[in-house]
């Protein structure tokens, strides 16, 4: 009897605690920038004949955390990403909520796009955002196409939205060759 109730409460505690990770607030970033490996690698599409690099493990950490995604959502507005990409639907910049990715749809590839920019309009934010902020924005961008766990995605848009909340966005598999949209460079 006693052992069963003990086991029951242990299961309950595990269930409750398992939800803690998604809310953890790492206000300084993890790992600290000064102990982190070098800055995000240049995307492999720029290096002729190179194989795509393995995905940076930091991408998964940021994508699995509700705090980072909500910070990304705030920064997306504050740094006027929506000025070109609208709220993910695309305007003079490409849409971010579909399955088409010109320069790669993994978190580290999105971070590289934010950091270095691309021809025909995407500016470089390397000296405007910190590395952690770029990871946060990348995680939020990934949530637009349903590529983050449903329990960490933002349940409420900051603006008037005609689409269902991001918690109900169906997952869009990443389509399109990285570099496929690169103009003047053979993929």
């Amino acid at each position: 009897m006693c052992s069963r109730s003990l086991a029951g409460s242990a299961v309950m505690a595990m269930l409750l605690l398992s939800a803690c990770q998604r809310e953890q607030r790492e206000s300084r970033g993890q790992p600290l920038a000064e102990t982190a490996p070098t800055f995000v690698q240049l995307p492999s599409v720029l290096i002729a004949g190179s194989q795509p690099a393995p995905a940076d493990p930091r991408g998964k950490l940021y994508e699995g955390n509700a705090y980072h995604i909500s910070e990304g959502q705030r920064l997306f507005e504050q740094f006027n990403c929506s000025g070109c990409h609208a709220h993910g639907g695309g305007d003079i910049g490409p849409p971010l909520m579909d399955d088409e990715w010109r320069y790669g749809g993994q978190s580290d590839q999105i971070v590289a796009s934010i950091a270095y920019g691309w021809p025909n309009g995407m500016p470089s934010f390397a000296d405007k955002l910190t590395e952690q902020q770029m990871w946060q924005i990348a995680a939020y961008v990934r949530s637009m196409s349903g590529n983050v766990p449903k329990d960490v995605a933002s349940s409420r848009a900051d603006e008037l939205a005609s689409t269902p909340p991001l918690t109900r966005t169906p997952q869009q598999p990443i389509k399109g060759e990285p570099g496929g949209g690169l103009q003047g460079v053979a993929p």
Partner: protein, 338 residues
């Protein structure tokens, strides 16, 4: 055993003095409300004393009446007279409180500069609450006469102030206890509040609506000064930022402009025009850092830049990993912006 009452009294009285107290009015509104508070206090105190007095008398009388039942009718006559007096007191007291509230409210409404009753032109300020600081904008039809600052409110004595309260994220509440009551700042709409300072001094305002992690560290320094001093402050604030003079300040200026600082902060007269964080044009003349979190000293400033999350965790300034020599240069440059 004698210590606890003393301690409690000291704690309670500690709220009476100081820079954040509704009992130490520095404005017309808080003064009027304090008078009203005084009226309520005395009327209610008298009523309370009478109730307790009657109760004590009744308890004492009960024993005597038991002893001498024959005197009962005489006691009843006294009691009914007292009861009539009590009813008169209740009616008069409630009337005094009602009329007091009414006239206080009417007087304050008439004191508002927007009713046309006042011939003084009010100072117009837009105050925007955000997590977790205050953006202060002195409005003027002439754009060159507008001032933008943060976390400090300079007001002259004797001039009405009209503040337009807004919020960009969640509900905050503007409250300077020494000047007036609370008024909420609600995202998507604006509220207005009128102030009329009467006494110079340094006061503290505190966000009065829970607004997230650092709600407790969302304070506003309110400086009320004589008109001449206020005009001097205004003239100084209308100037663009000082150019860096020493080699260290120049290095700090270069770092500020070339790195993330300028993406969020603006300094008038330089290429830094970010609007996400507080304006730093006259940063060194402000009394505190981080919306009243710590005093504005070079030590606190450099500690803040080195680890913005150390003193006020969760605030929106990111960890920047500034190298030590650049940190001192930034400190020197920002402290020169008086």
């Amino acid at each position: 055993m004698r210590r606890p009452p003393l301690l409690i009294a000291a704690l309670l009285l500690g709220g009476c003095s100081g820079e954040q107290s509704a009992l130490d009015p520095a404005g017309v509104h808080s003064g009027a409300v304090l008078n009203l508070f005084g009226l309520f206090f005395w009327v209610c105190l008298i009523a309370f004393a009478l109730v307790i007095g009657f109760l004590v008398i009744a308890m004492l009388q009960a024993r005597r009446v038991d002893a001498a039942r024959s005197e009962r009718s005489e006691h009843d006559a006294i009691a009914s007279r007292l009861l009539r007096g009590w009813i008169v007191f209740i009616i008069a007291g409630l009337l005094v409180l009602t009329l007091g509230s009414y006239f206080t409210d009417r007087n304050l409404a008439l004191a508002a500069p927007d009713t046309g009753q006042s011939n003084r032109v009010p100072i117009r300020i837009k105050l925007t609450g955000q997590q977790w600081w205050w953006q202060v904008e002195y409005e003027d039809p002439n754009a060159s006469q507008q001032i933008r600052t943060a976390n400090e409110l300079h007001l002259p004595v004797g001039v009405p102030v009209h503040i337009r309260l807004e919020s960009i994220d969640v509900i905050h509440s503007f409250w300077v206890p020494n000047l007036a009551g609370k008024q909420d700042m609600i995202p998507g709409r604006h509220n207005d509040i009128e102030l009329l300072p009467t006494r110079a001094g340094h006061y503290r305002s505190q966000c009065a609506e829970f607004c997230g992690l650092q709600h407790a560290h969302m304070a506003l320094d309110v400086v009320i000064e004589p008109m001449a001093d206020w005009l001097k402050w205004r003239a100084q604030s209308l100037q663009p930022a000082k150019a860096p003079a020493t080699a260290e300040e120049k290095a700090g200026y270069a770092y500020f402009m070339e790195h993330q600082c300028s993406a969020c902060h603006s300094i008038a007269g330089t290429p830094a025009f970010g609007t996400v964080g507080p304006d730093l044009t006259h940063f060194a003349s402000r009394p505190s850092i981080g919306a009243g979190t710590v005093p504005n000293t070079r030590g606190h400033l450099e500690a803040w830049i080195a680890d913005p999350q150390g003193m006020k965790e969760g605030n929106h300034m990111p960890y920047l990993a500034v190298p030590p020599d650049k940190l001192h240069a930034l400190g020197a440059y920002l402290r020169s912006l008086s």
